[in-house]
């Protein structure tokens, strides 16, 4: 399994913060933004858009782990309910696009986790038994139904230890 694919969720796992931690309460158009149905300008203010792009950042510790996985021959895939413009901004400023072999982004494919169609897209990049890391339990359950091996990255969990256990490391 040394070349197994590891699929990572983005916010709450590899990067921070969630847009929810930034926005005023009560934004109800997120399902439409994440599905790519509305532009960001219809979601929140230009000030929020700019501030959120600036605030987005990878966790150095998690990125270092991704680098170690790649060095061991694993392919890395992102699978995220996210706005593609935010991901582009994050990858550009952190110069980390090279770390990811594929990215499945909800706003690009029009469906979000835990929809089975999202996981069908993930499976195009990740064969059965690939490891899938996500901080949302319903997403992990959907991943398991799609033939992936989930790691529920709940707050406080030793994510690296659990991924290594599944990889047999």
């Amino acid at each position: 399994v040394s070349s197994a694919v590891v699929v990572f969720d983005l916010i709450g796992v590899l990067a921070e913060p969630s847009w929810r931690e930034f926005a005023p309460p009560g934004l109800e158009t997120w399902p439409r933004l994440r599905a790519g149905e509305i532009p960001e300008g219809a979601f929140w203010s230009a000030a929020h858009a700019l501030a959120y792009r600036r605030a987005l950042c990878f966790r150095r510790d998690r990125l270092a782990y991704v680098e170690r996985l790649r060095a061991r021959g694993h392919r890395i895939c992102l699978a995220t309910n996210f706005h593609s413009g935010w991901l582009a901004a994050l990858l550009e400023k952190s110069e980390t696009a090279r770390l990811f072999d594929a990215a499945v982004v909800s706003s690009e494919i029009g469906v979000a986790k835990p929809d089975p169609r999202f996981f069908a897209e993930v499976r195009r990049h990740a064969p059965a038994d690939s490891v899938f890391v996500d901080d949302q339990k319903p997403n992990c359950e959907a991943a398991a139904r799609a033939g992936l091996r989930p790691v529920h990255a709940y707050l406080g969990r030793d994510i690296e230890g659990e991924v290594e256990r599944l990889l047999g490391g």
Binding site: R54, A55, G156, D158
Partner: protein
Amino acid sequence: MDLTEADTPSVLAAVDYSDARIRAARLALGGLDVREGAAVLALGSVGRYEASPASDFDVAFLFDPTRIEAPEARALREEVIAALRGAGFDVAEKTFDKPIDARGLLRNIGGRNETNESLTYRALLLTESAWLYNAATARELCDAIFDVYRRDAVSRGRHLATLGNDLHRYYRTLCLDYRWKVEEGGKEWATRIMKLRHSRKLWHLANIAVQCAAREADARGEDHDAHLAAALNRPPLERIAITAVPGGRADLARRIFLAYDRFLGRMRDPAVRAELLALRHDDEGRSAVYLDMRDNAQTLQIAAGEFFHHLYERHRDHLMRFTIL
């Protein structure tokens, strides 16, 4: 808990106010590019979601010296403080008045070179912090603090006793800090004793409660450490609730909520704060405000004591070993 919004208006107002302040501060700092390796967090009443317009706005600036050097950290901290003040935040610079080497918080725990300052930062970052700038580094550094205890090879024990002892030690340090400030430091006493008897005590009780809850999670075969890590940074009242309600004693949590709501309501009143600030110790019996708050402290003490008794009945050996003996 059989509570309505009308029962705890001050608790809810404090949560709403704190949340709004945190979001506004994040937006105010959104004009700064994120510098990897530096993070800013709200601590104190804002971090506990108990703030009112009368509260201090305590801000901790952390940096990782392997990624950002101290002079750059100092300059960035000045930018952060200026941005916050420019947005109308009255940033307090008493305890938290300089950049803190986050890696330094991970060393010398319990050793002769440890300082009260590093103990304070560790305890507050773990139990009452909310990120304001660079969430990624903030979460990474807070996780690193928890991991020190989690990964201890010899001393950690099954229930992370070292972490429990460190939090316990910080509570006792606060109690003695009060003694020093009012006996030798010439500081006012009435507000401090009321905070000790309400918010500090609740903080301490909440820490003990979630340690018991983590032990129960462990007994169910769940992830003890993750349970504790996730629960610790919830507001103290929430920590009480998530422990009491599954234990079948929502009534005890309710009494604590009601007494604490009264405390928060009093503390958001500028007239109450002014009277406590001016109160001489010899005059305590003549202040209706003080006497009322002292009675409320006693009400909270009784409710907290009964909740502790409930914990003791369920976790006698654990509490005896880890928090009493």
